[in-house]
Point group: C2
């Protein structure tokens, strides 16, 4: 492509018992375990005002995704007709950004415990936003 | 930071009458005009299945943002106490990704007309997803 690219710098990492892409839940509220978000000390000031109980949207970089995929069977089910990735939540897509609605359970320094996160252990965190 | 970074490659650009950051609406449903999304021909297959009338979430790279900002007055109003950017929708943040809930009005080849988009003219598009 002729477009210039941009540098996404992780602001932290996910710590989760989920390590196997094939076995992980496809969405957060489909049986995801609790997880910890471990933030870089340099960006902690940016979390000022966020508290336990808050619902937020976590943005991750799905670093194990295949960026060359443009069409998938939704939910990896071959019975679902193939469609373009932009109409699906497939992790495989040109810019593999994950959007995760989560609830914050506990904040302990740069470690934040959350509910309902389907991201794999080690996944880079790239942003946190209020619920849309 | 010690983290490796990742390359975000735009999949298209916004065409909008909005060109002035200071004058633009802060959120899509605060008086935004219609805009066109102009996609790279190489990724068109990824839009397969998306149709006029659909509501989707557009992800953009807010290329005019200040990435060194960690605290802001919400909505640029000095009467609002400063807080961390991750609890706000500020464009200024370490990874300036915009999340825009929009409705598709019309699809014409690689050009998609949408409603309720506050992004500035020329803003890079990085992903399209179903509504959360």
């Amino acid at each position: 492509m002729s477009q210039p690219s941009y540098d996404v710098v992780p602001i932290g990492r996910v710590e989760s018992p989920l390590t196997d892409k094939a076995a992980a839940p496809k969405q957060g509220r489909e049986g995801s375990p609790e997880a910890w978000l471990v933030f870089e000390p340099a960006i902690l000031e940016g979390l000022d005002g966020i508290a336990a109980g808050d619902e937020v949207i976590l943005l991750t970089w799905l670093d194990r995704a295949d960026r060359d995929v443009l069409r998938v069977h939704p939910r990896d089910d071959v019975n679902n007709p193939m469609r373009g990735v932009f109409g699906t939540r497939s992790a495989d897509r040109p810019n593999p950004i994950g959007l995760h609605p989560i609830q914050i359970i506990e904040i302990d320094g740069n470690r934040v415990r959350v509910r309902d996160l389907e991201a794999l252990d080690g996944t880079p965190i790239i942003d946190v936003k209020p619920v849309i």
